[in-house]
């Protein structure tokens, strides 16, 4: 067992982990931050996306030990300081960008990373960026629409509802 320390959602945390412990496991099991979901075992689904030092990372593909000393943000750290939904989260609710909610944390974290790099992405750029996040419920329609809306684009012309 080794000791790891990092900052998660602005709070300094530390814990004992095995060498094989994944960052996703550390977040879920040691820190009880269960918003980070694990939907596959091949780094394909993207339900576990978090930000490590500002970069979107699949938390199932990084060892907890590798995150030593980093700043990690999870879905639990994405709301506004007053607890209200952030712009991206609010856009997902406004445009029905989620159904069962399981892929949602990863989608929100990926969308946030995209908009950080590219504040005004095209539909194609959004769809290509989301290649690493699978949603089985929405058919992506309202996820793409929500991200466009979060970027401040007029989505009223995209098929209603």
């Amino acid at each position: 067992m080794t000791q790891v320390s990092m900052t998660v959602n602005g709070k300094a945390v530390s814990g004992e982990v095995e060498g094989r412990t994944l960052l996703s496991g550390f977040l879920r099991d040691s820190l009880n931050l269960t918003g980070t979901h694990v939907g596959c075992d091949t780094s394909q689904c993207g339900a576990c996306v978090v930000h490590v030092d500002g970069v979107a990372v699949k938390a199932c593909t990084m060892l907890a030990g590798e995150a030593e000393g980093t700043e990690v943000t999870t879905i639990e750290g994405m709301a506004n300081p007053d607890g209200s939904l952030s712009t991206i989260q609010q856009a997902f609710q406004d445009h029905h960008g989620l159904q069962c909610g399981f892929c949602t944390p990863g989608m929100v974290m990926s969308a946030a990373a995209l908009l950080q790099d590219n504040p005004n992405p095209s539909e194609t750029e959004i769809r290509e960026y989301l290649e690493g996040n699978i949603c089985r419920c929405t058919g992506y329609h309202n996820i793409v629409k929500a991200i466009m809306a979060a970027a401040g684009q007029d989505v009223s012309k995209i098929a209603a509802e």
């Binding site: 269960t34 979901h37 069962c100 909610g101 399981f102 699978i134 929405t138």
Partner: protein
């Protein structure tokens, strides 16, 4: 002007807030103090005799609590099947035993042999690797037609063959159909495969079993669409635990699509083992494990023949289908290719004579059961493909051939035993032409051609049967359960309401839509109504969510319970207002006396019910809480018309979906935003089946697509924005809300649109291609173009 609340409003989903902030509570988020973890050691071969299991070394590994094998389940019940199909000779289907852990033989890759319970998951996995298995491999049967040949290896030694049943429907029509086909002016024949799929809800299955030593009560937390069904099946048939000692909780569930209906061995194991080891037992499926243990879907091989007279009127339809059951009968497996498939073969058409033959076959593969649409996509695909092929053979417009044969008068009794109550198939086709801009196709075709791409247009219709189902009817058809739904409407003293429903929400938005109905009925704000679901301890016995039944059946139960509440509240109001009960009206949360200005607020009446000081105690009881069980008296019949435009790259065979439009008739609609979302998701799953998804096995029964590296599902860049419309509304005539159900339509209607479009594109380019089996991968399309 859109409504801002109640029935017909696109109310934003209240459940979203917890999901968007990481505060959902899924089964894997549940950890119980002192819990153990189980890892299942599964067969890595498709068929073998278990000659020996040596757990001695593994048992000594660190953290191991106990290792279970099939021997620990001697005398424990078999995982039950919930539907018995009777074959065309009047004999019951063959029904093999399905032990919790394999006994004597393994019958598919993934069949669980041992269960290692340890302090940590890692310790359980490590110990599983130290178990020594002696498996004597046997020949595997994978191909369905080979499986039913004389002399084929049997999946189950105690059955007479691998044929589960040979079903004929309607058997009395068989000869008349044969005759009609013989004497037809034209017969179009199509042989096709409905590819095997894996539902793949993004949340893998999880089960946590807990046993209370003080009370001898059990609790199972599980990823289920229907916790009461699990309690019934597992308690009564497998473990022998009476319902009052067994609680099943299905908290937030990350998608189901059918695959979380069924009772699985892992649920029974965790519940059983919790008492055996005296500690909670948790199992979390890995994704690869899910591919080997979640029930699969579809997997039909079909020959369909459509007969027409000289005027292109459909005169008869005959189908022969081989349906894969896998190695064991999953909960509803036998009903899918029969009663949920054969009864839909009339589709939208007035074909007078229909005969459906289905041979259900055991193979050394994972069990196959319901997946989104369940039988209805298989019916729709073959019918809409054969109609399209017929139009091309006859040189007539595929839409006009459909319109000519549409059922136009309702109610309509089909020759396959169901009666459609309402519908307007021309209206949805008209709407499709508008939203799909069908008249602009030629211009888009020319534009594609300029870019060197082959463009095609595919159009089709669908009908489905939802709201399963009248209990007495399904009982006659072999269901071993009733298919009603329940609701308790509990009004609190201050007027807020909790609705305990047997329906379960795992993405469908019940927590938002159900309150819209109650708010509309009473005239209070939606925020005053809360939905409680997913726990056998809080909801009355209910049958759960599948088959697009929640609003049509569960919503109807809720309406009936709310009507009882309102009737009682009116009695209380009449007392408070000193008026005749017959004169009391409820509107906007106020009880009024007709023709006067006397009124009392909803909250005052509810308070009186719980603080009955001024109250007619001699006539009615205090309190305001009512329960209703609603048993539907027919299925509901949503219908629609879909179109898809594709481009095919002639160099590579790659198909891209350029546009997709869906015009649906779901009857009345409670939340249009949620309905559209359901259609979007269904379309994507249908496009996935048509272009990408395939669960494949090699000839030895090895599963070749057991991870997301190998099983391709639609990603965001595989699909366009969809154009969906549900303004054509012919309300259901037999449920109180006039609703039909919308959850599966997209997955039912979309696969034929895509395949029709690709065939259209290739034929327009001069290729003599009449059919390609799904998924239409670039390799298959290229091969079709290049002979």
């Amino acid at each position: 002007m859109p409504k801002d609340g109640g029935i017909g409003a696109s109310s934003k989903r209240r459940e979203d807030v917890r999901f968007l902030t990481g505060r959902g509570r899924y089964t894997d988020d549940i950890n119980i103090n002192n819990q153990t973890y189980v890892h299942f050691l599964r067969s890595d071969v498709a068929h073998a005799t278990i000659k020996g299991i040596d757990t001695a070394a593994a048992s000594e590994m660190p953290g191991v609590v106990r290792i279970f094998t099939g021997a620990d389940f001697e005398g424990i019940g078999s995982i039950p099947c919930g539907w018995q199909v009777t074959d065309r000779h009047g004999e019951p289907m063959q029904e093999p035993a399905h032990p919790v852990l394999a006994q004597g033989k393994v019958r598919h890759v993934g069949d669980p042999i041992c269960a290692v319970v340890a302090d940590t998951l890692e310790q359980a996995r490590d110990a599983a690797e130290a178990i020594e298995l002696d498996l004597e491999e046997l020949p595997a049967v994978v191909d369905m037609k080979a499986a039913v040949q004389d002399g084929a290896t049997k999946v189950h030694d105690d059955l007479t063959s691998n044929l589960c049943y040979d079903w004929g429907f309607v058997e009395e029509n068989r000869e008349a159909v044969d005759e009609a086909i013989k004497s037809a002016a034209h017969v179009t024949t199509l042989e096709l495969v409905n590819n095997r799929l894996v539902a793949n809800p993004m949340e893998p299955r999880v089960a946590v079993g807990d046993w209370n030593a003080g009370t001898d009560d059990y609790t199972l937390y599980t990823t289920s669409q229907n916790p009461h069904v699990i309690r019934l099946l597992m308690g009564a048939f497998v473990l022998g635990i009476p319902e009052h000692k067994l609680r099943v909780v299905a908290p937030d569930v990350g998608g189901g699509f059918g695959t979380k209906i069924f009772h699985y061995a892992e649920e029974a194991f965790c519940t059983f083992a919790a008492k055996q080891v005296g500690r909670p037992v948790k199992w979390t499926s890995s994704r690869s494990e899910a591919f080997m243990s979640d029930a699969h879907g579809r997997d039909h091989v079909t020959k369909i023949e459509l007969a027409m007279d000289a005027d292109n009127n459909f005169t008869a339809l005959r189908t022969e289908t081989y349906a894969n059951m896998g190695a064991y009968l999953s909960t509803f497996a036998p009903s899918i290719p029969t009663w949920l498939h054969g009864t839909l073969m009339a589709g939208n058409y007035k074909t007078p004579l229909i005969y459906v033959n289905v041979k259900a076959v055991f193979t050394n593969t994972v069990p196959v059961d319901a997946y989104r649409g369940a039988g209805r996509p298989e019916a729709t695909f073959q019918l809409e493909r054969v109609v399209d092929k017929a139009a091309r053979e006859l040189g007539v417009d595929p839409i006009e051939l459909r319109r000519q044969n549409f059922i136009t008068e309702f109610p309509y009794a089909t020759p396959v035993a169901v009666e459609y109550d309402t519908g307007d198939y021309n209206a949805t086709m008209d709407k499709l032409a508008e939203i799909g801009d069908l008249s602009g196709f030629e211009a888009r075709l020319a534009e594609s051609k300029k870019r060197g791409k082959l463009r095609g247009l595919g159009v089709n219709c669908y009908i489905e049967a939802c709201g399963i189902a009248p209990s007495n009817l399904v009982g006659q058809l072999g269901a071993r359960a009733g298919l009603y739904e329940s609701a308790t409407v509990r009004v609190n003293a201050t007027g807020s309401i909790s609705v305990m429903t047997g329906s379960h929400s795992h993405g469908q938005g019940h927590e938002t839509a159900f309150p819209q109905v109650i708010a509309e009925m009473i005239g209070i704000d939606e925020s005053q109504v809360e939905i409680v679901h997913g726990d056998t301890a809080t909801s009355p016995m209910g049958m759960g969510t599948y088959g697009s039944r929640s609003l049509a059946v569960g919503g109807s139960a809720m309406v009936r319970a709310a009507e009882k509440v309102i009737n009682k509240a009116k009695k209380i109001a009449s007392h408070l207002l000193e008026a005749s009960e017959a004169d009391i009206e409820l509107k906007d949360g106020q009880f009024t006396v007709a023709g006067t200005d006397k009124s009392v607020a909803w909250g005052d009446v509810t308070l009186a019910a719980y603080v009955p000081h001024n109250y007619p105690l001699e006539e009615i009881e205090p309190g305001l809480e009512e329960t209703a069980f609603y048993d539907p008296n027919n299925f509901t019949y949503p219908s629609g018309a879909y179109c898809c435009e594709v481009e095919v790259d002639p160099e590579t065979g790659k198909v891209t979906i350029e546009s997709f439009a869906a015009a649906d008739d779901f009857g009345n609609i409670v939340n249009p935003m949620i309905v559209s979302g359901q259609v979007h998701g269904g379309i994507a799953q249908g496009v996935g089946q048509a272009l990408l998804e395939n669960c494949s096995y090699d000839e030895n029964g090895q599963i070749l697509s057991a991870s997301y590296m190998d099983y391709a599902m639609p990603r965001a860049d595989d699909v366009p924005f969809y154009s969906v419309d549900h303004s054509c509304q012919t309300p259901c005539t037999h449920n109180p809300l006039g609703v039909k159900g919308c959850g599966e339509a997209g997955a039912i209607g979309s696969p034929p649109s895509v395949v029709n479009a690709v065939v259209d594109a290739l034929q327009r380019a001069g290729h003599d291609v009449t059919h390609i089996d799904m998924p239409l991968t670039p390799g298959k399309v290229w091969a079709a173009m290049n002979g």
